[in-house]
Point group: C2
Chain length 662, copies 2
């Protein structure tokens, strides 16, 4: 067993009497989504309980002890469900098929977690309307920032449709994810032709499999497609020929692939073409596409990751952190209703610690989605364990002060703040064709956790971790305890032994893996730490780039002064001397030394806890995970020593505790 | 005209009366090498003088005014020639065909340079027996460290045999080069199969073209071939099966490709397999192959670039600079006579400044070849101009003190010191399929200059540069003056604005292009500068790694003390404080600041001198070279600013002259 089914690897477990007595499942099987739910229940009961309930189509349903009833019922919230037990019969009600499917998976989860179904009575509804994955898969089979092998969607410029796709869809549905973009936002070569008839048949088959699991297929779009497909000599969004081309193109595409949800677009970013080429705004660009897809209910998801990637490191006035805000804030209210702006969690790029993106709370009249990254590009690349749900929760719970109440990021992207329905959360995916889906076995907690968090953000990070542990490895107290410790300490540990106090980067260029303190310091990417002999940090206060002032009060004021700035972000907002004293009483420099030693100690603790599970986990799983832990152990030392040595050599000030620095 | 013929782009020139009167060339045309020489003369006269002399085979020869006679004559030194004029007839004599060919090219050179042939009487002989190029071309057509386009030897795993190969051979012969290795020393994939019948026919055709120009074809060999060709399970040099395999293999190879000169081998280096795998010595490995090729007069050229490329940067005891010496010195005298050790000019890897490799002067009983690199891997990658002949001359003129007289590197590799004939000089080539062969037009001076230097090392770098300028661009005083200034100042300029005082590296990892002061500081490659707040440099004295003591006296003593160490190598041998005062009266730090500003000023001067040639050079040539100069201008500033900023930030000490540092 290599966990090819991840957390859906149903194993025999101890279950309650009610579960043991289930012999039939009644459901309107003519609905393919409900049928998926019913069949999943059948499989799960067979494997977990040991008896395989019989499926009956809806018409045969009555009130039977020992049966599960899946039934549509008006009035329940979209994609929500109600599960209750009465006299040995379990009912899953929902007002739509997705709700039934999610209810079925909830019931399976209860079974896996060993919950007593007697008297169960729970109602759930998803908080985020869109719960989406973004795959950065290329059609040659490679994955940009992929750390789990190659693509399972593409190979040699062809779309793959096979059994793995079904398992993928089941995994997503079980976690509550309802949309996915299968191709890289950097759309090049063959991927530009995904919207031509060459690929329609495969796309349609793929979209039908997804649809059976309540998942809408999206594609990343090449903004310059009319030119790159050699059909027009322009991509100007205000050119009537271009607008007509897109309308005609979308008609063909949606007729051929009716399940398509819409498109994700990265324009004018890192070398990608966009409306700026024609002196048009991003609203011009997005609205042109939105008009074209509107007749088919399509969405245009427009990324806000727009910045000058040819900055001069000598220039201290330009601030990449400002660019997303500066490029989009003036367009607030000018986007059509089927456009959603997709905004990264922070203003830079998925660092281990960033402030929340100031467009959240800045925009008030535009549909917004939060983009996070479970592909651990800057957080250990799925070779280090780094459970990201605690980070995501901090982001979601951030108060933007855009309204008196309902002012958090979660409020905004769930639609509460501005009464929107086209909004939600997207994660850059961490999957590939590795047997265990995510390279590091423990990285699957981020995939599962992302979906669960999107559906039910009030779950704590611990609750989600515990769920995932038990679903994946079974109900064992020691496994639960040790893995929970590891997961919950993994992000703090990673933050400690890598770039300190919100400064970010300090990684090897291009691959973004491993320490290189000056790796991005003299580069064109706008990512600097400005460390010299006396101090470190970027002045983004009103005296510096003014970035801090992009936030609403009282955030702006707090960020603007070193003394009130949250310490974990101190070097993001301020250039301070190494002698600056933190609340702990330690100087910045001593804080750097201490946290780097502490981070490595935490990793050692994590590894020794994992060692206790030897014999409890299947050997192959244990060994392959241990291999990664041993790498992390060594590599965290590399981080510690390089960072500490860098600052020791630059300051000439020794560690107060006299530990070894090189 | 894109200079597809480089310095053989024969143009009409003013010539002396003797040349104008030449109407016939008499030569033993049955010899293919002599025929090449005669035909080259015919072509050159036709294009330069404007009249095409008639070719007559030897038997028709008499004493005729207005003729050139190419004739064999016993007693002249190998590959040497004697040219003299008598009563309007010019004679080229040599004791072998290569000598005749080189004499013919010398005569053409005289013509191109506008020399008066009346009374000409010159005798030349090559100083280095082997004058070789090493191409790092891969069979997929890429070139490792290639900066002039793709390979013209290989494409899609096939060997190309075409007109460009003939021009290539003519270029080499005209510069006196007599051997070439066409494939990368890192032998992988298809290149391993170059010694199988799949490639024999093409290799044979290639070798025959080369042979017509006096050039012997060599191949790089995969030491693990018996295993990678799936014929044996070992490559142990003391295993009789392995020895028998190589003997049989070489019989087949040399019978199929009789012109083959032998093989170049990189073993146990940077991941390449070798005898160390079997706890055998490099002598075991090399001798096994030497025995196998001996019956066919084959040579085994064995590279000494062996070091631990998995070093821990924290470890200050291990010294990569020592490794070549330490690995080979104990084997001196144990290699068979047809083995040549090929030793890089310095102990590290083709940096802008290194001490001479201590194996020169260390080894006394082993055939040795000097390896230099005209591919400008660390010296501007043929985007910056960097004329390397002055560097090579310094290396060749270095006194090793291995003998009372004849103790220089040139003495050793020419065979003088130890009375050897299997020795010489090899250059990692800078050619590709770019129209002008070398990417940067001025980089061709290194290709031409390398050959000329190998044949006639007593030429000065200026003389060689002037020759090349006039051959290539014609006889024009301003062109000569400005290009000579540019070439002669290019290496000093590059040294000034890049890594200072022999410390090396400070480049971006992998690509080796552009500044990154800490790029190799925390890496596994053994390449460190150890800069901290107070000082910089690597202690290789007797107090440090002891590397300085590998030299013979008085070199060892001179290198061992900062005060006596040549300043250009100071940081290679010593860790000194920034306040250390140089002979100029400047501190190390001020020297760094000053030289970096000076280097950029020199580049500006070079560029403004090149601008004066606008209108004098063909426009296309001028423009494409100017494009590279403009890049160099900008990129030298990047070097200056990053290096100066790095040290300013680290030391906190400002430039005395108050110039802008960031």
């Amino acid at each position: 067993m290599g966990f090819e089914q991840a957390w859906l690897s149903y194993q025999r477990r101890e279950v309650c009497g009610i579960a043991e007595n289930i012999t039939g499942i009644y459901a309107p099987l003519q609905n393919p989504v409900i049928k998926s739910g019913a069949e999943e229940l059948q499989t799960a009961f067979a494997k977990i309980v040991g008896t395989r309930p019989v499926l009956y189509s809806d018409s045969e349903c009555g009130h039977n002890r020992g049966s599960i009833r899946l039934m549509m019922k008006e009035g329940l919230p979209t994609e929500g469900y109600h599960i209750f037990e009465e006299k040995g019969m379990i009912t899953v009600e929902a007002s739509d098929a997705n709700g039934i499917l999610y209810g079925a998976f909830e019931l399976i989860r209860c079974l896996q977690l060993g919950k007593n179904l007697e008297g169960i009575n729970l109602t759930k509804e998803p908080v985020m309307p869109l719960r989406m994955l973004n795959h950065w898969d290329n059609m040659d089979g490679s994955i940009e920032r992929g750390y789990s092998g190659n693509s399972f969607f593409f190979e040699n410029d062809e779309i793959l449709v096979n059994e793995r796709i079904v398992t993928y869809a089941r995994l997503l549905a079980s976690a509550g994810i309802n949309a996915t973009v299968i191709n890289n936002v950097n759309v090049k070569d063959s991927a530009t032709r995904l919207i031509t008839d060459q690929y329609f048949e495969s796309l349609n088959r793929l979209s039908e499999i997804f649809a059976r699991y309540g998942i809408r297929l999206f594609l990343s779009l090449n903004y310059a497609a009319p030119m790159e497909l050699l059909e027009l000599d322009s991509a100007d969004p205000l050119d009537d020929r271009v607008r007509a081309w897109w309308k005609a193109k979308m008609k063909v595409v949606f007729e051929a692939v009716p399940n398509l949800g819409g498109f994700l677009i990265k324009a004018d970013s890192e070398g990608r073409p966009g409306p700026f080429t024609y002196n048009r705004t991003h609203a011009d660009g997005a609205n042109m596409l939105a008009e074209a897809v509107k007749p088919y209910g399509g969405l245009i998801i427009w990324r806000c990751f727009v910045y000058n990637c040819r900055q001069d490191w000598r220039d201290r006035k330009t601030d990449r952190a400002r660019s997303g805000y500066d490029n989009f804030i003036g367009l607030d209210g000018t986007f059509l209703d089927n456009v959603i702006l997709q905004i990264k969690n922070g203003p830079m790029d998925f660092q281990v610690r960033e402030p929340v993106h100031p467009l959240f709370g800045g925009l008030t009249k535009t549909n917004q989605m939060l983009e996070v990254q479970i592909a651990q590009e800057y957080t250990g690349q799925q070779r280090h364990v780094c459970y990201l749900i605690p980070m995501f929760k901090e982001i979601l719970n951030f108060h933007t002060y855009v309204k008196g109440t309902d002012d958090t990021v979660q409020d905004i992207v769930s639609g509460r703040t501005f009464h929107q329905t086209k909004c939600g959360i997207a994660a850059v995916a961490n999957t590939g064709n590795d047997e265990n889906w995510t390279g590091h076995d423990l990285a699957a907690a981020n995939l599962y956790g992302f979906g669960r968090l999107a559906y039910e953000p009030d779950l704590t990070a611990e609750e989600i971790a515990e769920e995932w542990i038990t679903l994946t490895y079974g109900k064992d107290e020691e496994i639960r305890k040790e893995l929970l410790f590891i997961l919950m300490n993994s992000w703090p540990a990673y933050e400690k032994y890598t770039a300190p106090l919100g400064i970010g980067w300090m990684v090897n260029p291009n691959c973004h893996y491993g320490p290189s303190v000056d790796g991005y310091e003299y580069d064109r990417w706008g990512t600097y730490h400005r460390a010299d002999h006396l101090g470190i940090g970027v002045d983004r206060s009103h005296n510096g780039t003014g970035y801090a002032m992009l936030y609403r009060e009282p955030n702006a004021r707090a960020y603007d002064t070193p003394e009130t700035c949250p310490e974990e972000l101190l070097l993001f907002f301020h250039h301070v001397p190494y002698s600056f004293v933190l609340k702990s009483g330690r100087t910045i420099l001593q804080h750097i030394y201490d946290t780097h030693f502490e981070g490595v100690e935490l990793v050692d603790e994590m590894v020794s806890r994992y060692e206790r599970l030897k014999g409890k986990l299947p050997e192959r799983i244990y060994e392959r995970t241990m291999e990664r832990f041993l790498h992390q152990k060594e590599h965290s030392r590399e981080w510690r020593d390089q960072i500490n040595t860098y600052f020791y050599r630059k300051t000439g000030i020794a560690d107060e505790k006299g530990r070894r620095i090189y």
